[in-house]
């Protein structure tokens, strides 16, 4: 009979004096934190940098972690959320940098033209998502990337299930509006840096 693997809370309690315990927590959560940060920042380089900072900060403050009835991952997401918000704030003080790192798109074997079109549309969608306020971006990433239920999303975001549902409907409405704006900008050719297919990221609008 094999023993049950220790849950996150037990590992978190041990991590203050046992680095290997934190290593197990790291292995369990690094991919989801990375995914979350990737979609919030738009490129792998910053995602790696911020992910590293999340876990370094988490490890440095692991002794302060207390069980408040929410998953350990919620605490990590909170750290990630704050670091990403600081990152957006710092970037808004500097010139815009074009997004040259696109999410993987298309399926191997697809026609290159179809792949390019799918990639462009995916870029459009991701750009629209990144123009949403922080909490709405977080909601979409948790629901669609992490496949969390409304209750689980609420635990991570510190909201009730009803509040999450309400926010979700408002988020879809906002997303639709952002897509309309982006399409209008591209048609008029006013969107900066979009002529060659790259998407401008964070012109101070993200991190609202």
């Amino acid at each position: 009979m094999t023993a049950e693997p220790p849950d996150d809370l037990a590992l978190a309690r041990r991590s203050a004096g046992d680095r290997e315990a934190f290593g197990v927590l790291y292995e369990r959560h690094v991919r989801r934190i990375y995914s979350y940060i990737y979609y919030r920042t738009g490129n792998h380089h910053d995602a790696e940098d911020l992910t590293a900072r999340v876990f370094q900060r988490a490890f440095g403050h692991i002794s302060e972690f207390t069980d408040r009835g929410v998953p350990f991952s919620a605490w990590l997401y909170r750290i990630a959320h704050n670091l990403v918000a600081n990152w957006h704030r710092d970037r808004s003080r500097r010139p815009t940098v074009s997004l040259d790192d696109r999410a993987a798109s298309g399926v191997a074997g697809e026609h290159p033209e179809a792949q390019a079109l799918a990639s462009e549309e995916k870029t459009l969608l991701l750009e629209a998502v990144r123009r949403l306020p922080d909490d709405r971006q977080q909601l979409l990433i948790l629901k669609f990337v992490e496949r969390l239920s409304n209750i689980e999303v609420g635990q991570v975001m510190g909201r009730t299930e009803g509040a999450v549902k309400s926010l979700y409907h408002r988020t879809l409405t906002s997303l639709r509006e952002e897509l309309d704006h982006l399409e209008a900008d591209r048609k008029s050719g006013d969107s900066p840096g979009d002529q060659d297919g790259t998407a401008a990221v964070d012109e101070g609008k993200s991190g609202r």
Binding site: F22, Y39, V129
Partner: protein, 101 residues
């Protein structure tokens, strides 16, 4: 599927389907996850430094202080030596000048 992006009539269901297709987990590189884990396992965070680290820092500081003091002392002695040399030369010149012929 993604051509629904450009449709002006995006229903909630269509948007959700599109989001499901576009927002997929992104894997970090294995090189990154391995190196970060290695750093974390040896990282000591904000914990108070060990006694050995304190002793090492203290010892290095003392040695540095001694080295700097020694250099300053040598510099001062060199300057004083130069001043003494110049004053001795001046005294010799004065003695020669005042020697009765």
């Amino acid at each position: 599927m993604l051509s629904v992006v450009r449709s002006s009539a995006r229903s909630g269901k269509q948007l959700e389907a599109w989001l499901e297709e576009a927002l997929v987990p992104v894997e970090p590189s294995s090189r990154f996850t391995r190196s970060l884990r290695a750093r974390l396992v040896s990282y000591r965070g904000d914990r108070f430094a060990s006694i050995w680290m304190v002793l090492a820092v203290l010892g290095t500081s003392i040695l540095l202080l001694v080295a700097i003091s020694s250099f300053a002392l040598r510099l001062a002695m060199a300057i004083l030596g130069g001043v003494e040399l110049l004053s001795r030369q001046k005294r010799q010149r004065d003695r020669i000048r005042l020697r009765p012929t």
